[in-house]
């Protein structure tokens, strides 16, 4: 007999799923329970090099209240139906809106999109999962609150809850987003509602101003995890500074990453440069200005000679360091002298400010990201190879020049083996660097798709063999990355899972946790 569903949850009989769907409809109404292929199409498309069928959901539920979610988890427990939560569903390059495993029911929280509170004086926000950065940006502007957002490159269409819960990053001084998280409301698998930190105390007004509460700090276990469903999320916002000075420093040789990191680390640790700095390779910035097909054709990775021609034609360094100073004009003047002296020592650095680079499209979008202005220009990356294939390879490096050089060389070598380009950057760190590489490939080309999968697998294997851990990964590779962190951590994760969600109904497979 043909199923009426495009997929079924693993281990769930269709007759039981029918009953669960009926009960979901009773809670949410027919229009908010999606099961047809047409309705579920937007939940299926991913950028990963695996068949879409591997991540096809059985249904999607559009919840709007905490009470509905409590009822949904009760139904899921009764019928052992697994759910996969999304907020804005724009985790592009990490799995988009599709579930980790075929047949999971997507719990789509996009319609929970109220901005509950923005406090101008204490500079914090409390929002629901479906709030986008664009929505919050508009709200702050409309109410003239004088606060800045920090957001990732998909800014306008992504949101602070999903991004922070996946431990994403931005580019302002608040760029390490989870550092600035403060208080969550979480629906647990048993239906109870937990407010973390000071939020557990009735009548407390310090939920969004003091992180730690009393006893073990719990917020961390609800990030990159499946221990609960976050329905409210507090975080701190940056007061708009009186002045802002973005700049870019260009270098011409790949080995110069050593000098860059050694120069920038003390400036970051001391706070002279306060923001999440980006050290972008030429091939990360080139798509904003150039077409790959103008420089190379046929299979294989782009040769260094072509990269140098792109740099020359489009005024790029092989490394492009984007950073900014914030504060009063006096503060900026003092720190600018320190920055220019530090980078001026070797004579290799070319320092450009808005005066020289204001009309440069790469500088323009980077400057916007560093002051919380909406832009999706970084999506130009997807035009480099075309075909809609993208996976973020995201190993962590010490903020030590020799280490970043080693990681760059190893990544480039493995990508080249599979005919792929090094579109990489190092970001954020004071003591660490998130090494972010967009593994771009043409998903309409079966051979390139196969190569991309094998390449990513090898990148994970080779990096973990050298002790380089990955901080975030797409849903197709979560188990593999979990393995690299060893059996004890996996066992602890699993023990917590069994204690908090004994039926395994909340996002089984997230970060390899079941």
């Amino acid at each position: 007999m043909t199923s009426q569903y495009i997929a079924l949850p693993k281990g769930v009989l269709e007759k039981d799923f029918d009953t669960a769907i009926r009960d979901f409809r009773t809670v949410l109404g027919d229009a908010s329970v999606l099961t047809s292929a047409e309705q579920l199409a937007p939940y299926i498309k991913t950028m990963m090099p695996v068949p879409d069928g591997d991540h096809t959901p059985s249904a999607a539920l559009l919840a709007t209240t905490v009470e509905q979610i409590q009822k949904i988890v009760a139904i899921c427990n009764q019928y052992k139906v697994p759910i996969w939560m999304i907020s804005t569903g724009k985790n592009l390059g990490y799995g988009s809106a599709a579930p980790a495993e075929r047949g999971q029911v997507v719990l789509d929280l996009k319609r929970m999109n109220r901005i509950l509170e923005v406090d101008k004086d204490l500079a914090f926000a409390l929002v629901e999962p479906g709030v986008t950065y664009q929505q919050l940006y508009d709200y702050i502007k409309e109410h003239k609150l004088g606060l800045w957002l920090s957001m990732p490159a998909p800014s306008a269409i992504a949101g602070p809850v999903g991004n922070t819960l996946d431990r994403g990053v931005g580019y302002t001084p608040y760029g390490e987003h989870f550092l600035f998280a403060c208080g969550m409301e979480v629906v647990l698998a048993n239906g109870e509602v937990l407010r973390t930190g000071m939020g557990s105390m009735p009548n407390s007004n310090t939920w969004q101003v003091f992180k730690w509460g009393y006893g073990p700090y719990l917020d961390g276990i609800f990030t990159q995890s499946n221990y609960g469903i976050v329905t409210k999320f507090g975080f701190w916002l940056m007061p708009e500074p009186p002045a802002f000075k973005p700049f870019v420093i260009q270098y011409q040789d790949e080995e110069d990453i050593v000098e860059i990191v050694e120069t920038i680390r003390p400036l970051r640790i001391s706070g002279v440069i306060p923001n999440a700095v980006v050290i972008a390779h030429a091939l990360y910035e080139a798509p904003v200005k150039a077409k790959r097909s103008d420089y190379v054709s046929g299979p294989g990775s782009i040769p260094d000679e072509a990269v140098y021609r792109i740099m020359k034609d489009h005024k790029l360094g092989i490394w492009n360091v984007y950073a900014a100073l914030y504060g009063t004009q006096e503060q900026i003047d003092v720190n600018w002298n320190i920055v220019t002296q530090a980078f001026g020592k070797s004579g290799k650095a070319k320092i450009l400010t808005e005066q020289e680079a204001a009309n440069d499209p790469a500088f323009e979008y980077r400057a916007k990201l560093m002051c919380g202005e909406m832009t999706l220009t970084e999506f130009s990356l997807y035009n480099w190879r075309g075909g809609g294939g993208s996976m973020w390879f995201a190993p962590v490096s010490q903020a030590r020049g020799s280490e970043t050089l080693k990681q760059m060389a190893l990544t480039k070598q493995i990508l080249a083996k599979y005919g792929l380009d090094y579109s990489g950057e190092f970001i954020v760190g004071m003591r660490d660097m998130h090494h972010i590489v967009d593994v771009l490939y043409d998903k309409t080309d079966p051979e390139q798709t196969k190569a991309a999968y094998q390449c990513f697998d090898e990148l994970l294997a080779e990096f973990s063999a050298r002790g380089y851990g990955t901080y975030r990964v797409n849903t197709a590779f979560m188990d593999k990355v979990a393995e690299t962190y060893g059996p004890v951590q996996r066992k602890v994760h699993s023990t917590l899972k069994k204690a908090l969600d004994p039926n395994g109904i909340i996002a089984p497979g997230k970060s390899g946790i079941r």
Binding site: I44, L62, Q134, I157, V193, N203, A243, T377, G388, S390
Partner: protein, 111 residues
């Protein structure tokens, strides 16, 4: 070169304290009321706050003033295309998508 000057903050007067019921006891901030659930005003707003970030800056192809059919636009929005992500009805509801498709397909008199 001097740093970019930023417009001084506007000091707000005292705004009325608003309370709202979310499991009992979350209070609103002094500076802003909790927002209602988000709803799109019209097709132009959706275009400006989603589509234009790619299609007006040469990241995606231009789509306005090309007389693309509303059905084609609806299909692209719901299914995505290559690198273009798909947009769900929870992001752009069917009624708003119809307005967006109309806005994009309608030939503008503006240059």
């Amino acid at each position: 070169m001097k740093a970019r000057k930023i417009t001084p903050l506007i000091t707000f007067g005292v705004m009325s304290m608003v309370f709202f019921l979310v499991s009992g006891w979350v209070s609103a901030a002094q500076d802003g009321k909790p927002s209602p659930n988000h709803a799109w005003k019209d097709g132009a707003e959706i275009y400006a706050k989603i589509c234009a970030y790619c299609h007006d800056v040469q990241v995606g192809p231009p789509i306005r003033n090309r007389e693309l059919s509303p059905d084609y636009i609806r299909h692209m929005v719901r299914n995505g295309n290559r690198a273009m992500p798909a947009f769900r009805p929870s992001e752009i509801d069917d009624e708003s998508l119809a307005k967006l498709a109309e806005f994009i397909s309608h030939r503008s008199t503006q240059p």
